[in-house]
């Protein structure tokens, strides 16, 4: 079974430029998450989707960040314009409800996209 796929793996841009990250979750996983991870820190949730609906985007800086998951499968996270402080790893994760353990299931992470803003 293929895992969570993210692209690109690395991206270097100059500040004020736009950038987009793509994620394809594990087949059948209806919940998709985008996280930001700074060096030496744990992942921080940006947005959570249940199918195509963004059910929690409270931590997403909406002035410059946007995300979409139009058909409830793959997702795109965009930053426009990028700032120096946006340099980080952007992780995508997916999960699926489990009848045994309920809704609090393990999340499956992709390898991340390392963004460097110059």
């Amino acid at each position: 079974e293929a895992g969570v796929v993210q692209s690109p793996r690395y991206k270097i841009i100059e500040k004020k430029q736009p950038v987009a990250f793509w994620c394809n979750p594990i087949s059948g996983h209806n919940t998709l998450y985008w996280y930001l991870q700074n060096l030496g820190q744990g992942p921080e949730l940006l947005i959570r989707y249940e199918n195509e609906e963004a059910v929690d985007d409270s931590q997403l800086p909406k002035d410059r960040f946007s995300a979409e998951r139009l058909k409830g499968v793959d997702s795109t996270l965009k930053i426009q314009p990028a700032e120096l402080g946006d340099s980080a790893v952007y992780l995508c994760a997916s999960s699926s409800p489990n009848l045994t353990s309920g809704r609090y299931n393990e999340q499956f992470f992709g390898p991340g996209t390392r963004l460097t803003v110059l």
Binding site: G42, P43, V55, D56, R103, E106, F109
Partner: protein
Amino acid sequence: SQKIEQNSEALNIQEGKTATLTCNYTNYSPAYLQWYRQDPGRGPVFLLLIRENEKEKRKERLKVTFDTTLKQSLFHITASQPADSATYLCALVKGGSQGNLIFGKGTKLSVKP
């Protein structure tokens, strides 16, 4: 304020010994707690989940305890191996959060041969 603390940024142990990592939290009432492993350049990988009404969970050489009175989880790796070297992250699932994870900073474990 709400905080999750993993006791140390780095832990160095000798092969064959037991590694014990600590996760403390304040001002949360977690429904679940999870532990993840993260290798450099990779995303976190799920290891174990323990519920608030469970005291202990085991999986092969891994053991997790959860003390809601102390607001603490301990993560043990017995008979540690150099291949266990990685960063270990604890993550809380807040009650009522619909499964959103709050991660600690992680502890980098190095197992020396």
